[in-house]
């Protein structure tokens, strides 16, 4: 089986690579500093029709879909995986809205999301083992006309930059049961505070912070889907998100191995370029092999997602694979470049750019589990045979 791209998907991929080269490459170091959110860049992504790819019906590009989105994410990640994180978080919101949103919600948000006039974000995590289980869970309490939200969502990507959030809150019922429910909450809602920006190891173009809710009022119409179906939505979003994150892993690894191979072709030790040493060839071969396997997994899962076929086991396998091999690819790529590989700033006596230290920091953020350790394994094992 091969994974051919349609004409439209190829166009997206090509355009995305041009965007990465033209807009991202010159400013990757600034983006990595992560001090200012790249607002203009997001607007540019929107006007280039990159922000609505997961929304086939609304997308200005015919034939776009999740595969097109994956092409975009991989291309962006070859320059700045942090920018890809911004796009991924936004796209997950759009994906949720397209699948579970009411007609009114779609009308209200989708066109603006697709054009990049509004940026979306998704808030699932809490400090406990799962939503509603730890200290400071986000709780939703019914009141006249809607709900009141109180509590904390942790490690929210695009926090502070997003215009609208999909947050998952727990409703506690009198009979001791509880249910997770998704709510659309606009940035700037009264009682919603974005915590200080967290210092992430990498992917620093994308801001991460906790969201604190104190008596935030949401209307009945802001429920996504129905009450208590939040668990299903959140699980699916995590699954879709893990495939998109794996596309980031692949993009970073491909750019890294290309750079490392270039370095090995020029770095002379023992009288020859080190690319002639088998030890270096083996490292390069391992990275190329592992990133190719990850790519195959991503392509397969992305097509299942686009076809609306069952995809969770395949997504879990992708997550498991990049979990085992993702960081290792950059561990090895940095090793090839030695002292240059660990340079955050190219030493004064050396010419050229040395992006591998940043990529090493970035790739670790694309393979985080953020779930109990058996989360993916149990799902995969349950689907054997």
């Amino acid at each position: 089986m091969t994974y051919p791209l349609t004409e439209a998907q190829s166009a997206i991929a090509q355009h995305a690579h041009e965007f990465a080269d033209g807009y991202l490459e010159p400013i990757v170091a600034d983006l990595d500093r992560g001090v200012v959110f790249p607002k203009a860049l997001v607007a540019q992504l929107g006007s280039d029709n990159f922000l609505g790819l997961v929304l086939p019906a609304q997308s200005p590009i015919a034939g776009a879909g999740f595969v097109g989105h994956i092409e975009l994410v991989e291309a962006l990640s070859q320059s700045s995986a942090g920018v890809a994180s911004i796009v991924n978080s936004h796209a997950l919101f759009a994906y949720a809205l397209a699948h579970w949103g009411s007609e009114a919600q779609k009308t209200k948000y989708l066109p603006a999301l697709a054009k990049g006039e509004k940026l979306g974000a998704v808030a699932i995590m809490e400090s406990g083992p799962g939503p509603g289980l730890g200290p400071n869970p986000l709780l939703a309490t019914r009141q006249a006309g809607g709900y009141r939200l109180d509590g904390v969502k942790t490690f929210v990507r695009n926090a502070g930059a997003a215009d609208v959030y999909l947050v998952f809150a727990t409703i506690q019922f009198a009979d001791d049961g509880n249910g997770l429910t998704g709510f659309i909450v606009e940035a700037g809602s009264k009682g919603l505070t974005v915590g200080p920006r967290l210092e992430t190891m990498g992917l620093r173009a994308c801001p991460v912070a906790h969201l604190e809710f104190s008596n935030v009022v949401v209307a009945e119409d802001d429920v996504m889907g129905t009450e208590n179906c939040g668990g299903v939505i959140a699980t699916q979003l995590l699954s879709v998100g893990s495939v998109a994150e794996a596309a980031q892993t692949v993009g970073i690894a491909r750019a890294a191995v290309k750079h490392a191979a270039g370095y090995a072709g020029h770095r002379v030790q023992f009288r020859h370029p080190i690319a002639r040493l088998q030890a270096v060839q083996t490292l390069l071969a391992d990275i190329v092999t592992d990133s190719h396997m990850a790519w195959l997994g991503v392509q397969h899962a992305a097509r299942l997602i686009e076809e609306e076929a069952p995809f969770e086991p395949e997504a879990a396998m992708v997550k498991s694979f990049v979990g085992r091999f993702g960081s290792k690819m950059l561990i090895d790529a940095v090793q090839i470049e030695g002292g240059m590989g660990i340079s955050e700033v190219a030493p004064k006596h050396i010419s050229g750019s040395y992006p591998l230290a940043r990529m090493f920091r970035d790739i670790a953020g694309t393979t985080l589990l953020d779930a109990p350790a058996d989360f993916t394994d149990a799902l995969i094992a349950a689907n054997v045979a």
């Binding site: 995590m125 400090s127 406990g128 083992p129 730890g134 942790t154 490690f155 967290l198 210092e199 992430t200 190891m201 990498g202 991460v208 002379v268 030790q269 023992f270 080190i274 030890a279 270096v280 979990g323 960081s327 290792k328 561990i331 940095v334 090793q335 030695g338 002292g339 590989g341 660990i342 340079s343 955050e344 700033v345 030493p347 004064k348 006596h349 050396i350 230290a357 090493f360 920091r361 670790a364 953020g365 393979t367 985080l368 589990l369 953020d370 779930a371 109990p372 350790a373 058996d374 394994d377 149990a378």
Partner: protein, 387 residues
Amino acid sequence: MNAISPAQRDIQKAAKDFVAKNIIPRAAEFDKSGAFHSYLLDAARPSNIFAMAVPQEYGGLGFSPLTQALVLEEWGYGCAAMGTTLSASILSMESVLIAGNDEQKRRFFKPMLTAGIGAFALTEPDAGSDAGAGVATAVKSGGDYVLNGPKCWITNGGEASVFVIFAATDPAKGVKGISAFIVERGQQGLIMGDREEKLGLRSSNTVYFFLKDARIPAKNLLGKEGEGMKIAMMTLDLARPSIGALAVGLAQRCLDECVKHLNQRFPEKTYPGQTLQFKLADMQIAIEGAREAQHHTMALREAGLPFSKESAIAKTLCTDVAMSIASQAMRLMGSHAYAGEFGKFMRDAKVMQIYEGTNQIQRLVIARSVLARPKVAVSAAQKAGAK
């Protein structure tokens, strides 16, 4: 298991306390700025720990290699960058212990008695793994040698009181023409570059410097002319397991932090299932194995037995384990680790796979030893196949 004596246990305990009080609380701050942690030298001065490798007859603590490793593991547990300052200083001392005369030893070790540090300068821009490809030269001129050439990736370079610097006295002889010199801080013609901004071990000072007509008195020659590369290789054999000790400490810290976080996030009632239990068990197995390999190397050294291969194994195994454990722990801890101080451990481990001889160079050493070992009769067919 190498039994640890009660005296060693006391030293280990003292190191643990020092690390808890002086290293762990400030590691993140210096990692962030990348500035040299000079406060540490002041804090360590009363204990004389920077002289732990200096023999007692020269005023040092004269710790055995295993005792030094126990201390370094604790320092690696606290902060591998700070531990590197100590281990790299000991690295420079080993050259003097190997080849120095009494006067040289007295002079070189004196700063260490007041928490001064040393630096070992072998690497050059075009001589990394290929250590013999350096271009630095030392030309005899009257009672001096005049040194010229670049040195890079020199740990402690910008902060050291004393240096061991390698330069060719007879470039025509290749590695057999390299000699080792003691150079003191403030030496005219020793021109310091800026510190490098590194991915990890950030507050461990790393510099580029160059020598421009630096006149070094002939009495600073270590050993004889042409013995430099031999001294360098023996020094690295001695010093590499120290990196292993730091790495074991770092790996144990990663696992401990991981368990601490998981206990917090997934408390008692959700006691971890076998998937997580086995992952944690595998991590501890790897760390314990690395620790034993490291201690074994020290035991061989203390017994006066050959330990070159074991030294390379200890460095490679321990730093590879540290990298792998840091990476696994990061994944298990998720965003909490990625958006917190844990990233330092992963970044620090990466540098350790590279410095003091990349793990690829170690593997060459180990493979040479593995392939040299069995001298069993080889059949004619096998011989033909080997060609």
